[in-house]
Subunit: 342 residues, 2 copies
């Protein structure tokens, strides 16, 4: 029976599972960006000396998971489950990471919304009494994503201004019960809002922000309606990777819904690179919201700069096959509220 | 806190969520097979008059969902969430089905184990009080899978005896609380066991059964150890799609673990086609265990032929990219117990 719902698309967590620790591992471009100082691990080689970009993506995921475990003073065997995914065909980065970590594994796919999906379901497992601690993680890699969705990077294709730059890196967090000692801990996960798939007919895989913005607007509206909260309840409403053009569209669409996001909206994709890094409309990828949340967001919440954050990770649910077949891009956004106790 | 665990990789459901109804939609070859009479919908055209095999797979998924809803006398708006996935790159069959159904959606990927993953997490959502009713569904399609993983069917490639035939079809079930009226209902979902990724180094994508059998053996062993049950506790231990060669290997590997599966093991992939249907080692695909469970298993449990069934759906977590790069095939198996009350 739905006792932990607040209605509609949203669920509430009665025991307030917390983010106990986060870990992030990023590539050189991300390390050189404005958030560089927040990351646990920055590699100077996006290939990490391995044979393929795909193997490197798996390694980023493993190192982010290890960083989260280290920050929690725990071991992989303390984790009941891993919930993870990435952008690749059949989630091979996450699958190989799960194999190497040897932990019971739920593979999730929500494109760039995967990290929020993992947080929502991870918190469900902890709050429902099915787990003590879980790892929620996701990754992306510029070169694996370009090879898969657009052109191999060796091709040197021109990128339009709406194109985004897929983040190379992975983020992982540990979700668990509040420490019984009452000691220091991270923000509580209080409410999750599960997105519907929204498709406005965009077919341009170099304009993901424009495709995804309507899904973000829809989920934010559902979250606020379900909870009775206003947008100003949150210190920060943080979208995953709408980029410049998508963020502008989200603010406009939300204004049409009588929701004012002009004061407290930020986008992980716009935070991660600066304008001189040639990332066009901003960063993107399943790693984008993961590395920002697992680093800067957690640190800013620990310092008290932010007390209440709504993470709204967006995903473009297309595939190389659907692009070739001329289908439009279905999109989704999942939201989860991170709140410090007052 | 882990109050609903029975230890190890397994979780137990304290409120015993039930499968309230199932629905199945299959292609012509599946309809002509030994289980034909059990399915809700059989199409005489695997393309369903649409433009692409991929569009047809989405349609199979939608029709299976509609059949389950019809069998439950409910509507899509009565479902809190859809948990679904398929074998395609980025889950496009499930994504487009979720878009058309307009229901909050969790995309899951576990290859051919996806249906069990959806059942486990769907039951978690219901048992934990996060949902009244959810739809758990998965699909596959022979032509979409061949195009994606091996050769386009037009190529006419020769298939070795270990090759399996991807099932064209989709299965969906509705998971919810037992009816408060105490009226008729389906089996309870009692215990789920979440698999680890197992990789024995198999690289042959035409021998999926052989690659997946060690994962099935591992999860069955974990389930029995976690629960203290013997294999003979179950009337039926039903693997998803090991096929002939994989089933033989599973029985041998389990015997090495001192687990005797020789008396009560069956495999959905071996049930779905007969030997004259040229399906070689048997059926496979994310639709395989879904259509068998949502039809014959539920009907045989309703009639009392089976009281306790352990569904063990196996998945080969490889991708076209990993095959091209010469990587081995990581595999997983998730198990969930379906039990009639005594």
């Amino acid at each position: 029976m739905r006792t932990n719902g607040v209605g509609g698309q949203s669920i509430s967590y009665s025991a307030s599972p917390q983010i106990l620790a986060g870990g992030s591992a990023v590539g050189p471009k991300e390390g050189e960006g404005p958030l560089g100082k927040y990351f646990d691990i920055t590699k100077d080689d996006a290939l990490m000396g391995l044979k393929s970009w795909e193997q490197a993506e798996t390694q980023f995921l493993l190192e982010a998971m290890e960083a989260a475990l280290s920050n929690d003073n725990s071991k992989i065997d303390d984790m009941d489950f891993l919930l993870a995914g990435d952008l690749l065909n059949q989630l091979i980065a996450a699958n190989y990471a799960a194999e190497k970590a040897s932990v019971p594994y739920f593979g999730l796919y929500g494109a760039c919304s995967t990290f929020a999906e993992a947080l929502i379901l991870g918190a469900v497992l902890v709050d429902g009494g099915f787990a003590d601690k879980v790892l929620a993680a996701s990754s992306s890699h510029f070169d694996t994503a370009e090879r898969q969705y657009r052109y191999p990077t060796e091709f040197g294709g021109q990128r339009p201004p709406t194109a985004q730059w897929t983040v190379t890196g992975a983020g992982a967090v540990i979700v668990g019960d509040p420490p019984s000692s009452g000691g220091s801990s991270g923000p509580s996960l209080t409410i999750g809002t599960i997105g519907k798939v929204i498709d406005m007919g965009v077919k341009d895989s170099t304009n993901m922000g424009g495709a995804m913005a309507p899904a973000a607007a829809d989920t934010i509206q559902a979250h606020l309606e379900d909870t009775g909260r206003g947008a100003d309840y949150y210190d920060l409403i943080l979208t995953g990777d709408l980029g410049r053009s998508g963020s502008e569209l989200l603010i406009k669409l939300s204004a049409d819904n009588n929701i004012d996001l002009s004061k407290n909206h930020a986008d992980c994709g716009l935070m991660i690179f600066d304008s001189e890094q040639d990332a066009h409309s901003g960063g993107s990828g399943a790693g984008c919201s993961a590395i920002v949340t697992a680093s800067k967001v957690l640190q800013d919440m620990a310092s008290g700069e932010y007390g209440k954050v709504l993470l709204v990770a967006t995903g473009a649910l297309f595939s190389p096959t659907s692009t070739q077949q001329g289908e439009s891009i279905p999109c989704i956004a999942h939201a989860i509220a991170l709140e410090n106790s007052d």
